[in-house]
Symmetry: C3
Subunit: 341 residues, 3 copies
């Protein structure tokens, strides 16, 4: 069970109720009234716990797990140990997510509290039920929607707008940005600073004023120590539902569509546009001024130097269609092996 | 026009005056007394705005722009829409930079203010017209030059020296460093912490005390969440006019010459030296203990394992002359295609 | 000598005493009673200084150094300038580390001080001789061991446990973690935030509650702006004596064994396990759910997509045995050259 120093568990819940949340169906013989008190990984789960199997690497752990119930794909149901109750769904990870959210719900709104060491400018406007932690700073003209939580030592710059129920992590800083609702900004995030815009010149690089903003739509998560520069004139835009991991760089004027996923340490250079549901894997980079089509997938460490078509999968640096990249990798391996003899 | 919540526009300015600032000449028929109230991107500019065209990708937007005036290279002047007044220069981006700086000048000095929640050690020395924001901390023996602005929750360590008119962003931290004038340090920057120096040993890695400093010369910009370690005995040195982007890593004892450009997520390992005007593109890496010659260009994602000659362009990992890298890329593509059949 | 604004030097020490610390033997004729006042790099050392030579690149500097004494490998002793006293050891860098630690010892414990601007929750527990700097925030239920130093504007979340003599740098933030003793956390580090766990879904990515912790064992160093996510259910674990550089990403559920070294900007994806003494060079990446065997070395910028055997050296992206990678690099160079003609 999760460490009670850090987590409070809800429940118990009946299996039928959990199946509804997971949009799963109960396998034959699973009692919908059986009660469960917590979620747990396959290895450590006990009879009162619900677990899940999503990645085939862990089938062995599934076979011997003592979990009382488990969310699984129907195809692996036959591997289940005797007595385990099964919740069957085509999307077991999503199903587990819903169940775990029930046991560990997000912090609800509480009464408004502004810590005495926080600094809230008299010209800032805070909605109802906001919580401002120790040392946080909110500048003049900022508008903070109801239910927002501003973490310790976070800084909300002048004129920044947050929608409702946003979370800003410890030591994060925001400026020049308009943020939607239910946005989660992790510790150490930097949003809205100047983009990297200057005219290179041997007599001294000439700084170009960065006159745009960062627009973050609803339901976005932005990982720890990630940096998102504001636009140079146009805005930098993060579409609704985007999931951005840690240490990501988003350059000025970049536009992310809805539901994009950008994994750790990836970088998107200035003025590039990602359409909806693009996936950028870890440590990948995309050059400036290109368009990545809807649903495209950029493999880890790839270096994209051109437009990518909708649905295309690319890899390598410079990036190319993923199958072509894999073929090149195989070709080079074969050629090198031949010369070895 | 820029969002007035975040930006205040100066002006209006006459076209002749703007041409002087841009070091541009007016195209035939452009009235030097025509007045302009703002800058704007090609797509959104109106009759009262000055725009620019620097990247050929945007010629189409130029052809249909409603901008009243535009800074352009003479070669694209014939593409201008009817009625647009042109400022002609070989360096349109630089010209635009100067004009935009006039409309949106840097914050000038103001009266000294130390926010009541800031902590300034009695043994710190502040020059005239410094602004210390909420929650900032300035340690004993620090010397802050006139006109500096220390952002909210930033930390200036003991003994740190800043020249005049520096800006330190929110939540940045400096220690063990001497910084010149007009240096801009973005939010979350880390300067002066221990370098990554230890003797590896299975019985326990042995930490090597890091006894140098970070020396930052005048007119440098250091991007958000970038890290610059102090020297191990020699100093880490950032030359005048360097432009460093976000999430860059600069190891101990690294020396950057004047005017170097280091793009986001690049890293320079310990004791490597960059001569003047080197360009390190995004996500590139340079091994320790090598020298990169004046004006060399390191391509995005390259991995430099050796000295690079002045003016050389390199790419690939391990890095090689860029043309050689491009040829290798083409060769492998051809060979893989052949085997496909 | 190190800048007295930032460093206080101990000593002087006799050469014999230094040889003992370095586990070195004095070369013939080196007087064990000769006194030394400081350490210094070869280039700037004078007669009262001890220096070292570890990297053969610097033999030329060694030959003309004015250092009074030098820690060297016996094999280079014949290159020493006349009059230089030598401390001979197979591990000169380690020997120098010990000597430099004597001249510049770590800050000892001092009386407990909690800066008046710090916020320590009444339900937090602090050991003896802790120092809490300006603006630091310590949450309810946190337990801070004796001798810890919490830097300016750092944030220690609710329930976090630190052992003895830890150092937490400026503006770092910790949550959901249990940390051992003598751990050094650099400025801007983020520990314990949510891992990047969600079920991807076009109808909206479904967040998976992250219910584990980060466990950091004794004698670990974690570099500036590095991010370590907490586990999703299992814990994220950093083994004793690990050295982690700046801007590193450690995903949820990752386990590092003892004495691992992870260099700047490298990233380890979720649920991957590193056994003891693995070395991950700069900008390398490791995919999730794999195991890297004891003592393996992952070259800079490599991309590891599979398990790596103990002691194996790998390079390239996708990574392969390092010799194979070097052969492929040579093969491609040769093939491209041939087609050039």
């Amino acid at each position: 069970m999760a460490d009670p120093r850090f987590f409070a568990v809800a429940g118990p819940f009946g299996l039928g109720q959990l199946a509804d949340l997971a949009e799963a169906r109960l396998a034959d013989g699973a009692d919908p009234n059986a009660e469960f008190t917590d979620v747990a990984p396959l290895e450590t789960a006990g009879p009162g716990n619900v677990s899940f199997l999503d990645n085939k690497r862990y089938v062995d752990a599934f076979r011997v797990s003592r979990a009382g119930a488990c969310v699984v794909h129907p195809s692996v149901a036959p591997e289940a140990p005797a007595g385990m109750l099964l919740l069957l769904t085509d999307k077991p990870y999503r199903g587990y997510a819903r169940i775990a959210q029930a046991f560990y719900p997000r912090l609800g709104r509480a009464d408004s509290t502004i810590h005495p060491t926080a600094t809230v400018d008299p010209k800032a406007v805070l909605g109802k039920q906001c919580r401002v932690e120790a040392g946080a700073v909110i500048g003049a003209g900022a508008e903070i929607g109801s239910g927002c939580r501003i973490g310790p030592n976070a800084v909300i710059g002048e004129g920044v707008v947050l929608g409702e129920d946003c979370v800003v992590g410890a030591c994060a800083s925001l400026s020049h940005c308009l943020v939607g609702s239910r946005v989660v900004i992790y510790p150490g995030v930097r949003i809205g600073q100047d983009g990297f815009g200057f005219a290179m010149d041997a007599a001294g690089h000439e700084k170009v004023p960065q006159l745009g903003r960062v627009i973050v739509h609803d339901d976005v998560e932005i990982g720890a120590n990630t940096t998102i520069d504001r636009g140079s004139g146009p805005d930098t835009v993060i579409g609704a539902g985007c999931m951005i991991d840690n240490l990501v760089q988003i350059g000025h004027n970049v536009q992310l569509g809805r539901g994009c996923v950008v994994v750790a340490q990836a970088g998107i250079a200035g003025s590039t546009r990602l359409e909806d549901f693009v996936i950028v894997a870890a440590q990948a980079g995309v050059i400036g001024h290109v368009t990545i089509g809807r649903g495209a997938r950029l493999a880890a460490q790839c270096g994209v130097m051109r437009n990518v078509a909708p649905g295309e999968n690319v890899g390598g640096s410079p990036a190319m269609p993923l199958r072509q990249f894999m073929r090149q990798v195989a070709t080079l391996a074969r050629l090198a092996k031949r010369t070895e003899v």
